[in-house]
């Protein structure tokens, strides 16, 4: 059952920011994650500030320099179907279409997708764990099949649930934020918070701050991007392992690019190990083998998620072989 809360729906950003200064106020976009968290007692909110009436936050358009501006309220479905996204940023389109189910994609927004809460079943269940202000992490010694292999710092073992964030990070996108202190811009890569920095925070957003838009830079010549996600069932499921590739090719050679994992770490996880294994190289069998091995270098599997090691390697191999053959 939902707890009691007040609900406001301002039609402009300024007022929304003001309303967010109320005690326990939270942003309500599509509500697909937020309402679940409220119902399950994960969060408590004094006031929900719906941003759904703020028209400026909707829609996708080209930026002056040829990149994309995606309003925070744009639905996941819109992102996945948008012509420009599909033409130029295939990985992002694939990432968006891998999110949840059609219903959730129709209702959920890209801003909300970046800001969603983790899916650890202890956190979502009746367990007062570290991330909820408790004193222990239940996943460390418990049922951690779905948990992370990187970045936990042995504090909290969630995997970041978003399928769009790894792609945005791979594309070097930025998030525009408006808050009580004005505007600022943060790279998607730096938007999420590692447990070592603050186990109770998921994003760098300060109280009262709203994500207004996401800016994707223009496509570099020779860019190929893709997203691959492995799930326990074939739809409506989060990543067991996933990878966003945004690689710049010169002929057969990878000259630049990023590799970002989902299902791996508490934040979208940039694999510099894979990047350095492939950048400057042709994606031949040897490079791909090296890259696959590099993908799990430094991984710290838990008692029940060791399978992710082989899975990431297998996925990496498959995806690099595929992108080597892909068209721009």
């Amino acid at each position: 059952m939902l707890p009691k809360f007040a609900y406001v729906r301002p039609d402009n950003l300024k007022e929304a920011v003001e309303k967010l200064s109320a005690e326990g106020a939270m942003v309500h976009a599509g509500g697909t994650d937020l309402l679940g968290c409220l119902r399950d007692d994960v969060l408590d909110a004094g006031t929900l500030v719906s941003i759904s009436a703020i028209k400026d936050l909707r829609g996708i358009r080209k930026t002056e320099n040829g990149g994309l501006r995606i309003g925070a309220l744009t639905t996941i479905t819109e992102v996945s179907r948008h012509r420009l996204v599909n033409q130029k940023y295939k990985g992002l389109a694939q990432g968006a279409s891998e999110v949840a189910s059609p219903q959730l994609r129709n209702q959920g927004t890209i801003g909300g997708n970046l800001c969603q809460k983790p899916r650890c079943w202890y956190y979502r269940g009746e367990f007062h764990c570290l991330r909820k202000g408790g004193t222990e992490c239940f996943a460390a010694e418990g049922e951690n099949t779905f948990h992370c292999i990187f970045g936990s710092d042995s504090i909290c073992f969630i995997v970041h649930p978003s399928d769009t964030a790894p792609n945005l990070a791979a594309l070097d996108a930025e998030v525009n934020i408006t808050g009580p202190k004005g505007k600022r811009t943060v790279k998607v890569e730096d938007f999420h918070v590692l447990p070592a920095d603050d186990v109770m925070r998921d994003t760098v957003l300060a109280p009262g701050e709203i994500v207004t838009e996401i800016i994707v830079p223009p496509v570099k010549h020779g860019l190929r991007s893709s997203y691959r996600k492995i799930k326990a069932r074939r739809s409506w499921d989060f990543a067991l392992a996933g990878v966003a590739l945004a690689l710049v090719f010169d002929g057969d050679k990878v000259t630049d690019g990023r590799v970002v994992f989902s299902g791996a770490a508490p934040v979208p996880w940039r694999s510099r190990e894979v990047e350095s294994a492939i950048i400057g190289n042709i994606l031949d069998g040897k490079t791909i083998r090296t890259a696959a091995e590099a993908s799990v270098k430094g991984a710290e599997p838990l008692a029940k998620n060791e399978y992710k090691i082989g899975m990431f390697q297998g996925m990496m191999t498959e995806e690099l072989e595929k992108i080597a053959r892909a068209e721009e």
Binding site: F127, F138, T145, A232, Y307
Partner: protein, 797 residues
Amino acid sequence: MKKEQEIYYTKDVPVPETPEPGTEPEPWGKTRIIGERVPRVDGYERVSGSAVYPSDVMLPGMIHGAILRSPYPHAVVKSVNIEKARNMPGVRAAISMDSPGADLQWPYNKEVSTKLFDPRCLFEGETIAAVAAETPYQAMDAIKAIKVEYDVKPFVVDERKALKSGSVEVHEGGNRLKTATHERGDVEKGFAEADEVVEKTFRTECEIQTPLELHGCVANWDGDRLTVWESTQGVYSVQSKVAQVLKMPLSKVRIIGHYMGGGFGSKLNASKYTIIGALLAKASAKPVKMFLTREDAYIAVGNRPPSNMTVKMGVKKDGTLTAIQLKGNATGGAYPAGGTALIDWLFRDLYTCENVRTEMTDVYINAGPARPFRAPGHPQGSWALEQMMDMLAQKINIDPVQIRLKNIPKVSQAREGNPPYTSTGLEECLRKGAETFGWDRARKEAEANNKKDGHIKRGVGMGGCVWIVGGGGPPSTVVVKYFSDGSVNLNMGASDIGTGTKTVMALVVAEELGVKPSVIQIENADTGTTQYATPSGGSKTVPTEAPTVRNACIDAKQQILKMAAEDLGLDVEDRDAEDLRFEGEKVVSKSDPSKSVKIKEIKKLNKRGLVMGIGYRGPNPENKTVNPFAAQFCEVEVNTRTGEVKVLRFLGAHDSGRVMDRLTYDNQVFGGITMGIGFGMTEWRVLDDGQTGKMLNKNWHDYKLPTALDVPMDMTCVPIELHDHEANNTGAKGLGEPVTIPTAGAIANAVNHATGLRFTDTPINPIFVSRMQDKTRAAEKAGKEALSKEARNKEEG
């Protein structure tokens, strides 16, 4: 077996019969509407939302109940304080173990019962107290305000650990509830005679029913009469349990369940919530809606028990089975709930074998009690048996279909006296299924693909089955009212649990009385107004009710024909009436077609308004058994790098006797396969074994039911329609359960065909596949190392 029959129907009751014994109707010859593709008679109501399910029921003044449940898998309640809750806004009633009238016994079986609110909480989700308030929100708030002092105890939630010495005891005296053994022949002799012997241990995970409509009811008192709208598979079974627990006369308990949104066995009977709903309604003097939350439904109202099975089988080179041995355990949770029930049945009955020994131990753990789940025990047993059959076939190098064909029994080996089946289509299911599927070619193509380098492998697998019941049986009573305008009202107690019961019964009426389905109105599932029926379960509703409906129609028809004979001046006492037959809207003489009378003009019928035909379900044939059979075939694709398995296509060849309605038939086959895919590939209950013992995935996201994408588009249903005139007067056998029995084992066999890996544990998802590959790689590596070490040793030596 006895237990199943107790649930689904009563054996050996003398029953009245219509028509008179010995005057059994002829089997239908060519049918007009039976077997056609007829859409659901209540499809519009269900789809449009106008059908009122129990969870839709709104009564004037109705309030909402909520139940406080134990958050611990094992605890003793020291005290419960409901005073604060009672005084909260909107709260109209609050009850706990100390409340007057709430000190009731809840029976699990004849020997074991607990209190309705028992201080000993042996599983997470045990009931502790309940409230009713004006809104669901107020009720939930009040629940949270109840103060409970618990003495939290250590727990055990894994049956394998529960059997070890020194384990926490769920009940005093140990966790071994009982061991059921069956033996025929001499397995040791059988193994000695075998050319090949295979032994392997299998495990199936706990699967949970998760019907779309939650468990619950609306309860209302009118003086001393209780009416309950319950989401149930059987209104009469709920009536008897409610009357028993509340110590009321049956006549004062009315249960209504016109529509219900699925149960899969978990709604065969009343639950504690039914009683709690009634108590809250009484205490508040208001109608109370008492529905569970989804989380509660996951932990408290049933599951398919997890099982562990070590199987050893012997085979001769020609495929003859020489011995089958099953040893293992399973758990029905914290109370006796059939943890091992029927897991052994397929081992004992499906394939011919003289030497069989089974031994299954039912174990207590601190988890929610099991309940019958679509084909109880069978999918678990099938998972192991069908994989064993394939392993034996590999050993002796024969085809999986062939080894099964080699071992088709003519009689039921597991039953006393080895009665023959009234019909057995196992062989045809295997042959026709394989042929339609293109088995041989698909196997060869997959093998050719797998010889290539690629990491995407293909596999083709299959499995066969029998279902222990599915013949139906007495008792059942049905009333057909034939109105003077030729329209018909069918009155029966059976529930339509989403399987199309109403549609099938309308077709029986239409077939027998020659009326259009559109003029048939069905009243069902109401103990106040409809006739006695056993709950819809055991795949017995069609073979039980359809013959009964047919009998009722024949009874009405005989009366009408007599009336028509009078109008036509024929001698009723003579056999003239037999010369008449129904023909659409009139009654016509067979010998002289010019003699006819319109039904609407039959004088006596017009005066009387209607004719009432009564049908009873007659007895089953003596010394024979009625069972459905099946074989399913599938093709899968395995990504050996990532562990992803995709089911490409499925085919179900089913011998369930006559096809009554082809649409509901296909619907069952595809639905059963879908559920089998869930059992074999996606579903498993996760308990926080090492820490809290609580269920971690009690929601629809973490408990993974198969989605549309997990199920292939390419599904084929091949009915094997044998003419079984002995089973009953419609020739239909049960279908709803066999459809889900061989599915998971067939998938495991296909995945083995693709990868060479044997998946002994459910579910076959990328996690488990990757783990298995890791294990295999590690073993290979260890093997290689051992080999090279040996080589080195040799060199050195």
